[in-house]
Symmetry: C2
Subunit: 232 residues, 2 copies
């Protein structure tokens, strides 16, 4: 009985993933048409995804680079209300309306991009639902995938949740201002990220104190340019 | 297209939940037969579920109360290796073998209980997969459901992830030794838990420092006794 249920679940997941892949292709086509790039931010609840965007967006915003956000949450508009202060276009996805799903699929991202169609945006951030497992399974159509992990979560998390670290090209270690009170071992955390994904780029920042944000800003700006060139 | 995929997903989830419910009934029957109670610990990655068990189990263990653990993780045996030090029976579930599922269903809990059948146990803890969303959907057959949230995760999490706070009878606020460096507002966090679940019992502890663990131990012991009486 146990195995049968196990197999049934896997089959269902495959069907959904197949459909998701098709929709991710549509997301990419829509971004290309508008000359936009998109980054998908993933991470546990409370790892600091929203705080990161609060710090990062004012640093990135300029006449040449216009930012937009797709905000995903199970419930509440809290994160979008916080980001509204930054005066950027936001599409909020409340997954409560989709069976409280624990991730953003390409279907809802496509809908969000449709809503943002006429906004002035060059670079779009997806803030995915707070979850270190499920979002890794779903291609959103984003050109770049980023995982945020805070030092309070423990050094072994890349090994325990390998899929998301494997799928992402960048790992942002957040809350480095808390390394001392937590007693965190930054080197061990980085070592574990590299065990899972040797080519992962790693940034060590504090979204609260603003420490080390500049290299991350530079990388995002460069990567935005590269992604635009890549697809030409 | 978007809605159709949404609806499809919901239908699938219902099928799986129906099957899960049947298996949870079997879990309860198996526990009853052996005069055992079971508590299901849920929470984000790094909220301190394993650290809590490391502190709690030696406090609970006695000739009268024998403890067992069902340990759920996507990958690695790390948590079970840590708890092995406590000399208690452990069944480890690696969800990588079940499509890397993001929660423990009654199917795998039933399998774990079968493996532990002949162990000397009165009270079984499930340490669920680190995830603040999906485990809330699945009845494991446990008599008590507990959510662990650490002060580093932010005061708004009960509002943003309401299902799990709604489903659990106890919320354990962990890492209170970090309230000051994090700048956390404990009263606001408690207020938000009660907004979602007014009858939730709340414990404020530090699994690291051992602060305030005694009231939690007492409650678990009492609740174990109540659950045994309830089903007679």
């Amino acid at each position: 009985m146990k195995r049968r249920v196990g197999k049934m679940e896997i089959k269902i997941v495959r069907d959904v993933l197949e459909k998701n892949k098709e929709l991710a292709v549509q997301v990419r086509a829509r971004l290309r048409k508008k000359n936009r790039t998109m980054f998908n931010l993933m991470g546990s609840p409370g790892c600091g995804k929203t705080a990161l965007l609060e710090k990062l967006i004012p640093m990135l915003k300029s006449d040449e680079l216009r930012i937009g956000v797709i905000e995903g949450d199970v419930a509440t508009l809290n994160d979008s209300l916080r980001l509204q202060e930054l005066d950027v276009p936001i599409a909020h996805i409340s997954t409560e309306r989709f069976g409280s799903t624990c991730h953003l699929g390409a279907n809802v991202v496509l809908g969000a991009l449709e809503l943002l169609e006429d906004e002035n945006m060059d670079l779009v951030f997806i803030e995915n639902v707070g979850n270190l497992i499920c979002p890794a399974e779903y291609d959103t159509g984003a050109g770049g995938n980023i995982v945020v992990i805070s030092v309070t979560e423990g050094e072994d998390k890349p090994l325990k949740y390998p899929q998301i670290f494997h799928k992402t090209e960048v790992a942002i270690i957040n809350k480095i201002d808390l390394v001392e009170p937590v007693g965190a071992d930054l080197n061990l955390l980085k070592e574990n990220i590299r065990k899972v994904n040797p080519s992962s780029k790693i940034f060590e920042i504090s979204a609260r104190s603003g420490e080390n944000m500049e290299p991350l800003r530079e990388w995002l700006q460069e990567r935005h340019g590269e992604l635009l060139i890549d697809r030409k």
